[in-house]
Amino acid sequence: MDVIIIMCAGILVSKIFFPIKWKRINELLQLICTLLLIFSMGVILGSREDFLDTITTLGSQSILFFLIPAVFSVIAVYPLTKIFLNDKKGKGKDEN
């Protein structure tokens, strides 16, 4: 919930005061925050004592339990988005 409130605050700030010429700086700061978040996720995982043990002993079952539900979710959601939502697709922003 707090995430939504903060995002709304950002929307408000952009409506009241945010020069369009700072858009590029905003994107760069987003990239830095993103990489820091991914890095911290990696640190949390790597610092778990049983991280490697868990991966080696229960790896194959865990692969099935992540892959099948994730793929089935895509299979379920894709036709729903085609029917009910805007069907936008494109190349990643990096390529645009």
């Binding site: 929307i11 911290s40 996720m41 790597g46 991280f51 079952q61 865990s62 539900p69 085609k82």
Partner: protein, 200 residues
């Protein structure tokens, strides 16, 4: 971006395994990750605000905004049933594990308490792998399928950890849908785990 994300993830795991998580810069980053997420969300809000007309578009979705979380939950539970049949795990455990929707910290602990350490470990690892898989499947899905479908593998993580990839590879409208989906899925996870474990 994918390569940078991969380098950041592997670098983080290496730091954690090498015991560098106690050093000042790393500890600063990890202990302030909530603040970093808040900063990111604020910046995302600015991006959305700069993109005129998004909020109007979201309002136009009305009840249709629920189709993505509904599809994710239905697909994940169906996937849990199939995974259970393939691995021989009881249906209540397999559907409960799939009900984590990528929220590995909560599902690992919750299922560990309900079904024991082994099921808890599978829940932790499978949901963690789902999150990592989401990270790297988002660019591909955005290119081959469509933007809203990028939210599907992310599940409950679409409002936080996988949001940066959504911001990078989709558009402002999909980012708002992604946050909404994350809130709904996150709220549903504890209920789904308990429901599936007791029902099947």
């Amino acid at each position: 971006m994918v390569y940078l994300a991969l380098i950041a993830l592997i670098g983080g795991i290496a730091c954690g395994m090498a015991g560098l998580d106690d050093t000042l810069p790393v500890e600063m980053i990890v202990s302030h990750k909530d603040l970093i997420l808040y900063a990111l969300m604020f910046l995302v809000g600015i991006s959305i605000g700069l993109n005129r007309g998004i909020i109007k578009k979201i309002k136009e979705y009305h009840i249709r905004i629920f189709v993505i979380p509904a599809g994710i939950i239905a697909g994940s539970l169906a996937g849990g049933i199939v995974s259970g049949l393939l691995t021989g795990l009881p249906l209540n455990e397999s559907t409960a594990i799939a009900s984590g929707l990528g929220w590995y910290s909560l599902s690992g602990v919750a299922i560990g308490n309900l079904a024991g350490a082994q099921a808890g470990s599978i829940a932790f690892l499978s949901n963690l792998l789902r999150e990592i898989f989401s990270f790297f499947s988002i660019p591909l899905i955005a290119e081959k399928l469509n933007y809203p479908t990028c939210i599907a593998p992310a599940g409950a993580t679409s409002e936080d950890t996988t949001l940066p990839m959504m911001i990078r590879y989709t558009d402002g409208e999909t980012v708002v849908l992604s946050v909404f989906n994350g809130v709904i899925c996150s709220a549903a996870v504890p209920f789904l785990i308990s429901f599936c474990y007791n029902l099947f």
